[in-house]
Point group: C2
Chain length 350, copies 2
């Protein structure tokens, strides 16, 4: 077992847990033959699901707990009262070195609060951020923050830009990733003081990658930059607006193909091509938001996802854990702190 | 001429001005037989374009000016130095009662600054907001602010909600419009103090319409509420993210139909249906952002639009000018100020 990558799963998190979690783990096991699982949750429900899957059973350990974080629990309450919850125990496994990463489809706010409290932030990082992939005309981009930090300072945005760039280098394998700051215009005078302040800093500092400047909402889908940086409020609205628009177009498309007999026949002919398109834009493909900036890998799956989506989230976590992303962030933050001390933030003291 | 609705046009604003403006005016004239135009701009360029169109010529007056606001001019500079610009003279025509409304495809920031300075805000309105229509699964929604106010207070959002609701009543003809406040979750504890403060106020006040509570980015396309209220930064990002995603899907669709011979044949069969879809989701159909809250009707067209898009923006302005939207806002604000004085804002003093 020593060569294997151990992944801690919150078996009770998500709308369709624990079934979806266990089925997802089984798909992930097929895709990543070197993984093994610590499954935290109600053993009476989890064990029968694992028992049905012999290959999964051979690489899994079920750790029983009665407690689970409710989907609507306040993060502060979950943090205080959920010390024996499946979510918390799975995070603890990472903190205590028993697992390389943790995946949960449970309450986002609670997961963020617990992960931050238990794992702590990396040196030079004041606040962790949620990041995820977006489909673009050019391929894929990564955007952060998607909702962990409702209000951000210029310094927070600078740190997100650094983490995003290092992510693009280590995980996406880009040598010179471009990073854009989301704004409502590309000119220097646009936006609020926070984004303008962050842009000024990013232009002056020795940036690992290339700071592109301001980008706008439409640049997300165009793929103008490899990384898009924004505060958690704007990022969350942009993410969900994009998802909503994608659904709207899918529905318009469905109605269009249903609108006449010739259109229906047209669909039958174009169907194989549309199935490829569907696979490409499948939201499950982009499942797995990463909490960047913590001393440990924590990935949040959509609460409503199915086994396939959850398996993708596990894949994201395994990828982050194996390519040494956190070590790279640590190195880069130290390099920056010594090259360019930041007098006005905690980061400078590290 | 006295029964006609006079519309002032900035003939020099927009990437393809003045040609697109004059061609757009001609389309609008056909659609709205009761309109007449005041065309502000370089007579040497505008008059030949008008002369070619006899019907348009008979309902147009060209007012010459050498000056035009540059597309990249800073709003403050345009406001100071652009007193003889085509944009400013067109706005002046509304302020001086010579026109019922003004339409420009020029510099957004300059138009907003000039319109606010010249027309002033309505009683009870601290800041005007930019509003526009969005296609949804249910039909159309209206969203504001789309970029006029980068930073907003809770009171600003409350006023936007009121204006949006009155807009939905008078322009869309809805008797009980629903209004949602854009946030990153639907629970009361979500978001920042500004949106939470606005929600508290909107729940307590005698609201004209129905305050739905918080909505999320995906609710825009779903059409969960008739009106969506947000600050100008978030609204602008959401608008452009939706536009970008729509373009991405259109491109994916094009590639899909091109990807094989049978898919191409499928497209030929489904083509009439797709042309209907294209017409429905044509961005020109949604052209014409309205500045709500001013003592005069001012509509901003996309800078890059064509004649058809500009004609739609003229239609939006004509609609706002004829249905007494501003009078309704004034009435409603007075009613609210007397029913429920707001001690902490200027609005209370009106």
């Amino acid at each position: 077992m020593s060569q294997r990558l151990t992944i801690a799963l919150d078996a009770m998190g998500g709308d369709h847990a624990p079934d979806m979690v266990i089925a997802g783990a089984d798909i992930a096991r097929e895709r990543h033959p070197d993984v093994q699982f610590l499954l935290y949750g109600d053993a009476a429900r989890v064990e029968p699901l694992v028992a049905k899957r012999a290959a999964l059973k051979s690489v899994s350990e079920v750790i029983h707990t009665d407690d689970a974080v409710a989907a609507d629990a306040k993060p502060s309450v979950a943090l205080r009262a959920g010390r024996r919850s499946s979510m918390r125990l799975a995070i603890d496994a990472v903190a205590e070195g028993r697992a390389a990463c943790v995946v949960s489809a449970g309450n986002t706010g609670a997961l963020m609060a617990m992960a931050k409290f238990v794992l702590k932030t990396l040196p030079g990082v004041d606040r962790p951020a949620m990041a995820s992939f977006f489909p673009t005309l050019r391929g894929e981009s990564v955007m952060l923050d998607l909702g962990a930090n409702t209000e951000c300072t210029a310094e927070n945005l600078v740190q997100f830009a650094l983490m995003g760039s290092i992510f693009a280098r280590t995980v996406l394998g880009l040598t010179e990733p471009t990073v854009g700051l989301l704004n409502i215009g590309s000119e220097d005078v646009k936006g609020n003081e926070t984004v303008r302040g962050a842009a000024t800093r990013l232009k002056e500092m020795p940036f690992p990658g290339r700071f592109y400047g301001f980008v706008e909402g439409n640049d997300i889908a165009t793929g103008t930059t490899d990384v898009i940086v924004t505060d958690g409020f704007t990022g969350n609205v942009a993410l969900k607006t994009a998802e909503g628009t994608a659904k709207l177009y899918t529905e318009f498309l469905r109605r269009t193909f249903q609108s006449s007999l010739t259109a229906k026949i047209g669909y039958l002919l174009a169907r194989p091509a549309f199935q490829k398109l569907k696979a490409r834009t499948d939201p499950r493909r982009y499942n797995g938001a990463m909490f960047l900036g913590l001393r440990g890998v924590c990935v949040k799956s959509h609460g409503g996802t199915d086994a396939l989506g959850f398996a993708n989230a596990i894949g994201v976590a395994a990828n982050l854990a194996t390519n040494g992303f956190n070590e790279k962030i640590k190195e880069e933050m130290q390099r920056l702190a010594s090259a360019n001390p930041i007098p006005d933030t905690k980061a400078a003291a590290v």
